[in-house]
Structures are given as C-alpha cells and as structure tokens.
Symmetry: C2
Subunit: 431 residues, 2 copies
C-alpha cells in the first residue's frame, strides 16, 4: 500500500462499511462504547490513528470531538474580551415538530431525527436567540468538533471578503497570485472559478478507489515521517502544483476539495497570513468566539483549508448569525456587506445540475456555500458525516448541526435533515 | 538507530552542540531566522519534527512556542468566566538592577541577563501585582510556551493536593494504587518517595548516551507509527512497568523524569481523570486562567506528566501567586492550605546533596518543587532551557521565566538567574 494518510485510510474503511445494520446512535455513543476510558484504556477501546479505528464508525464518534489528540494542529484564537453570549428563548416544543423524510411515507418528529442523524450537537437560533440546543455522545457545550468540509465555507467566505475589499480580483488568474501554480491546472483558472469549483481538474475524489488522486493529496498532507522510498509531494501545496487540467474551466460545478486548498494558498499569498491566523483575526475574534478553534496541519505547517477546521457549537452559531445579519454581529460590521451579498446571489444552477445531486435539485454553489434557491433563500455549509450550517433568511433562523453519522456522504442524512430544517423554519415563521 | 522519539533525537542533537560560539539571543530570534515564514516556508527554514531541526538550537526557539503544531496534544481548559486579570504597578527601573553572576567578577544588569539567558518571556509579580513583563522572540502575550520539567511541579502539586485531601496516603506503596506497577521498581516505593524522587531506579537519563533508558521511555511515548520490528513498550505506562530497581528506595534524591509519570499514573488511577483534565478542573479554571494550556500525549492518549505541559506566561503567574498565597487566589481557596504547607516544609537536604548540584547548595526537592532553603524561603519549578517559576515568600515576589537557551541544562543559566532573582527580591523588599 502506498504512503496514505491515516485520515485517508480511515475514510476508506468508513466507505467500506459492511452490509450489516450499523449500531444506533444510542448504541454507538462513545461513552457506551468506552473509547479511551481508563488508565490506560483497554487495547480494544484505544482509538488509534494507525490501525484504522480512528475514523471508522463507531470510533469516529469519539474522534470527531478529539481531533487535536491525533494530529498536529494550529490554533484559531478566540476573543480575549468582548466574548459574545447569546440570549436564550428556549422552546422545547421544537422537539415535537413533525416532518416527512424525503422519499418516505411516515412522518418523524424533529427529536427522532436527531438520533437518526447521529447528532452530536444541535443549535437553533431564531432572530438571534437560542431556541434549541442539545448535546449528545462525546460533545459538550465547551467542546470542539471536526466540521470537515464546512471548513471550505470558511475559506470561501474569507475569499469573498477579500474580493469585497478589492484585495483579490475574481477575474484574475490564479497564477497571478500564486506563481508556483502557473503550470498546474489552477494556473489559468480565475479566482471566481476556484471559489465556485467550476475548474476542470484531472482529479478523482472517489474514496472507494485506492488509486484515486485524493489519496496522493492526503499522503502529501500526512504529517508523520515519510517512507524512505517516498518521492511524491511532501505538503499540500506541493501536491497542488502537480494537478493537471481535464478540459475547460468554467463549464460545470465539480466538488473537489483541492479547489479550497488552492484558494487557501491564494489567500495566504495576498494577506501574508495563514488561514488559521486570518480566520482568527478577521472572524473568530471579532464575532466574540468563546473557544479556540483549530486546524489540522501538514508537515510544512500548512492548514488543511478544505477540511481541517474544528470548532465549538455556539461559536459556529455566532458565525452563522453574523452571515445571516449581512456581516454585522457583536456590535460591529465583521465582514463587508458586499461579501455576504455576493454569497447570497448564488452560483450558476445549470452548472450545478451537471453534478447530479439528487437531493439538491436547483441548488448552486457560490463562494464555497451551498445555495438552495428555495422560497426562503436558504443556504448552507456542508461536511461529511452530517456537519451543517443552515441559514434560512426568511425564517430568521440559523441551524448548526454537528454529527458523526456512520455514512460519510450527506446523501445518507439529507432525507432526515433538509425537510426537518424546513419544518422548523415553518414553525418559527408562525410564532 | 532504534525507534527514538523525535523529541529524544532532537534533545540528543541539542546536547551535542559544537564548540563554536552559539548565536546570541538577538541573532537567534525566530523572526530574524525566518522559521516557518512564507507560503510555503523555504525548505531550509521549515522546522520539522523528523530531520533534527525541531528541538535543535536555534530552531527550538521557534518550536517551544508552537509545540501543538508538531504533536498530538490534549487541552487544559481555561476559565469560561471569572477570568483573572492582574493589577499592574510596572517598574521599569527593575531593568537597571545590578547583580554579580555566580563565579564571575563583573556585575550585570537585570536587563542584560534577559538576553544572556535567551529569555522569551518574563513576568515579575510583587504583592500580586505585575511589576515587570517582557516578551521576546517568538512569544506573545497571548501565546503559550513549553514549560518542560516545570510540568513535574504541576503533577507534584496535584499529588500534594490529593495527600492533603486524604485521597492519597504518602505512606502507601505504589502497587496499592497501580497494581500494574507491582513488579516494577515503583511497586514497593511509597507515594512520598515517588513525589520526592528518592526512589532507586535502574534508569539512566544521560541524553548523551544513545543507549540510555530515557530513549526507550521516549520511544514508548512517541505517537508516530511503530516500526514493524518494534517490540518495546508502546506507551508511557507500558514503559513504567518495565523499570527495575537499583538499590534501596528512600536513601537519596535522584532526578528522574519517570517518577513524575508514575505519579501521574497514581493520580489518574485514584481520581479517574487524566492529568490535563484534573489540572484544568482543580487549578487552571479556578485560578481564572485566560488561555487554554495543553499537554503532549502518547498514542494511548496519556499526557507526558513529566515534561509535556505548555502554558501562557500570565497564567503561570496566576498559578505561582496562588501557591505564594497558600492556595488562596481569584477569590477562593483553590488548593488546601495543608498542601502548600507540605511543599514549603521542603525535602531532605542531605538526600539532595548526594545528587551534587553545584549551583544548588543546601537545596532540597519536595512534591516536585525545588526548595532553596535560603533566607527568604524561596522555592521554584525548573525546566530545561531555562523554564522557571521562582517564588520568594519573604519578598512577596513571584518570578516566571520562559526561555529557549541553547543549552538544555539549567547549570548554563543559573549563574545569571539565581543571583538576579535575589537582587530583584532585595530591591522589591526595600520598596
């Protein structure tokens, strides 16, 4: 086997779940399983980065709340002072709201959906107040959780911010900002094409294929020692330099993580700051985040912009609420209004349709946000295993869900999530 | 070469510094050196865990402020609310205080001693107020720094706390608390002997000897993948089980890190909590620490109790001041008065003398604190490369120094430190 990153191996195993019925949320609760309990933990209850348990269900239910205990990480500093505290207007009747799962004929309550989706934490804000908040399994109110590809949305939002501030030009080619990428597929893509993932890259993110490019990318970012015979790229950036084009940019949406890491590189080049430092300075501290977040990093100290962020539930709520309020939050204009407007106008739906997401009809992708184009104008950030920020402007609602679903793809939880969000929105609009 | 931990290899290299004059503090400032600057950093300015640069001077001057970026770590949570803020009564004339370095004939100013000792951060408290505070090189007011063996003092203080609370009995044998250690050297040692390091262990901590036991201990704690042919202990605890006796316990002081890790195991067994969690719950949060600290951990998630703690300068000052005030700080009795009294009564000076520390005449070691038995009753926590907490009860002074001296052993900086502390104490007593 090649020099795969551990995360990669674990994701691979997680994709190969056998056909047996997986454990329920209650059965797979890390405290019930006993992961990493005792001094020392029992061998068969030790979660290890190196034997496949780390990101395999059910151990991943433990890992997502403890990522820093497995990897080198870089801090995203929280606010020193002016730490934001939400007002609360808790409404337990939200638990009883019923909705019809996509493709099913039997209604489910919102509370039932939480276990169905292996929810670790859920926060619902209405008009900026906490109306619902629950923690399950390994997540605590003062804990952090891997947000997986929700990380992309943070990178994309920083990109939109720099566009609005005139520091980046969406029409310029990537090679003008990152000369090292001139000969790669990214070289002649525009910043806009990278931000909206309409680049055309010879890159496979099919985790089920051991020869897929994603494994080479993962190996490059693996911070453990290199095998003696290894000759490949040794950090994320070196990998990006090797990516080849596969057609013409700007023709179709193609969800490929490496766009975000290329965007991260562009952002660091023009600002002179790492993604964790810039995110802290421009967003995390201004919104008044209460807890340090952090990124997984590679051996060159480069943060995994496409999937390595970890954060606290309420802090994510502050971010979502700031976006809902057009960038104004915690007594200040955190992000330019124009940046949020550029997110909200959405991407090209025809380009998006070509990617064939059956649960996401008429959606688009803009600045690394998923835009529903529904009647409420909802848009969201999405990460594997159920990570979600869902903003419904019409219902004045922000939804944060952190989860550890046994199946990576959100196609597994969308049927029990998207209609549930709509049902809660409908309820809140009637209040 | 055996499967050595990276920290070990780096320490080894650091011990083998060539005879040339090392760079000065100014020359070796990480910002001057350019470590990890740029996107990506230049190859010859990339600090790597795997090529020897990580803990080799001058790169270690960068590393000590970024340990989490190299290792898996476990958080020591700071206070959510009730975060302590020091009052200030800054006195810049402290810079000009003169003292005579040990064994020299030319006086030096206090300010000159800071560069001489490769100081990264210094905080002096007098009667609980900040009278002096400086940051150099890579350390910032909101940053953290490796405290190295000052970690031992935190473990020892938790031990003293549990003795004072009757949860531990100093006369009991280690095997009564940790049955796994029954057949090791620790099995028939008392808790007191472990706390005061008067055990007799067949264990060499001579970093210059590649066959020294410390390398096996380090390899056991190394969180990177195990070589295929590796058959040794795979975590800190497994290593402790293999340690053999070398004579009779209780006869002499012998400074051996593994005593602290054995003590950490005892503490976790009786409390059911990891050292990071217990430290957070019982000390870090109650004193009102402003910043999360963290520990380096092994592949079983066990914190390196003997040397793996990282913390913020002012937060360390809060800890020191709490100790000086007999456990009372931030409006509450954080630790039992009896625990502090037990530290202050000191250890056996005759036992200590057998270890032959030329700069530490008449000192002793108690609950993992270094006791000076000088006229002011000063006592301290000490870590390699110059880490120090120095408490002078008579002068009502607490000194915190974080540093990255080119030489690991404190014998290199003591001549420019111990008389400097005394000179500042003398000055403050006259104010």
């Amino acid at each position: 086997m090649k020099h795969l990153s551990i995360l990669s191996i674990a994701l691979m195993i997680s994709m190969n779940l056998n056909a047996q019925q997986p454990l329920t949320a209650e059965q797979s609760d890390p405290k019930v399983m006993g992961w990493m309990q005792g001094f020392p933990p029992a061998k068969d209850r030790t979660v290890s980065l190196f034997d496949g348990t780390f990101f395999e269900f059910p151990a991943l239910r433990y890992s997502v709340c403890h990522m820093r205990e497995f990897f080198p990480t870089k801090v995203v500093k929280s606010a020193d002072n002016d730490r934001y505290q939400f007002d609360e207007a808790l409404d337990s009747s939200i638990s009883k709201i019923e909705f019809m799962p996509l493709g099913e004929k039997k209604a489910m309550t919102f509370e039932e959906s939480l276990a169905k989706n292996y929810t670790d934490g859920i926060l619902i804000l209405h008009k900026g107040k906490v109306v619902y908040e629950r923690y399950f399994g390994e997540l605590t109110a003062d804990g952090t959780h891997a947000v997986m590809s929700v990380s992309k949305t943070f990178t994309g939002t920083l990109g939109a911010m720099l566009l609005a501030e005139g520091i980046l030009d969406e029409h310029k080619l990537v090679k003008e900002y990152v000369p090292e990428l001139a000969n790669s597929a990214f070289g002649d893509a525009t910043v806009r094409q990278v931000l909206d993932m309409t680049t055309s890259l010879d890159y496979s993110e099919d985790y089920a294929d051991p020869k897929a490019d994603v494994w080479i990318f993962s190996a490059a970012g693996n911070p453990t020692p290199l095998p003696k015979d290894y000759t490949g790229p040794t950090n994320y950036y070196e990998y990006l330099e090797t990516v080849k084009k596969a057609g013409e940019h700007g023709k179709a949406f193609g969800y490929k993580t490496i766009n975000t890491d290329a965007m991260g590189w562009i952002i660091s080049k023009v600002t002179g700051k790492s993604i964790p430092n810039l995110l802290s300075e421009r967003i995390w501290r201004p919104i008044g985040a209460n807890f340090d977040g952090y990124y997984q990093i590679d051996r060159a100290g480069i943060a995994f912009a496409g999937g390595g962020f970890n954060a606290n539930l309420r802090d994510l709520g502050m971010f979502g609420e700031m976006i809902r309020k057009d960038g104004y939050f915690n007594g200040k204009q955190v992000l330019p209004k124009a940046a949020i407007a550029d997110i909200r106008k959405g991407g090209n739906q025809a380009d998006f349709a070509k990617a064939g997401y059956s649960n996401l009809k008429n959606w688009s992708y803009r600045n690394m946000w998923w835009m529903s184009h529904n009647a409420n104008g909802a848009f969201s950030a999405r990460g594997v295993h159920g990570q979600t920020i869902y903003i419904d402007p019409k219902a004045e609602m922000v939804f944060i869900r952190l989860a550890s679903h046994h199946t990576a793809s959100n196609t597994a939880n969308d049927p029990y999530s998207l209609p549930a969000y709509q049902a809660v929105a409908d309820y809140l609009m009637k209040k």
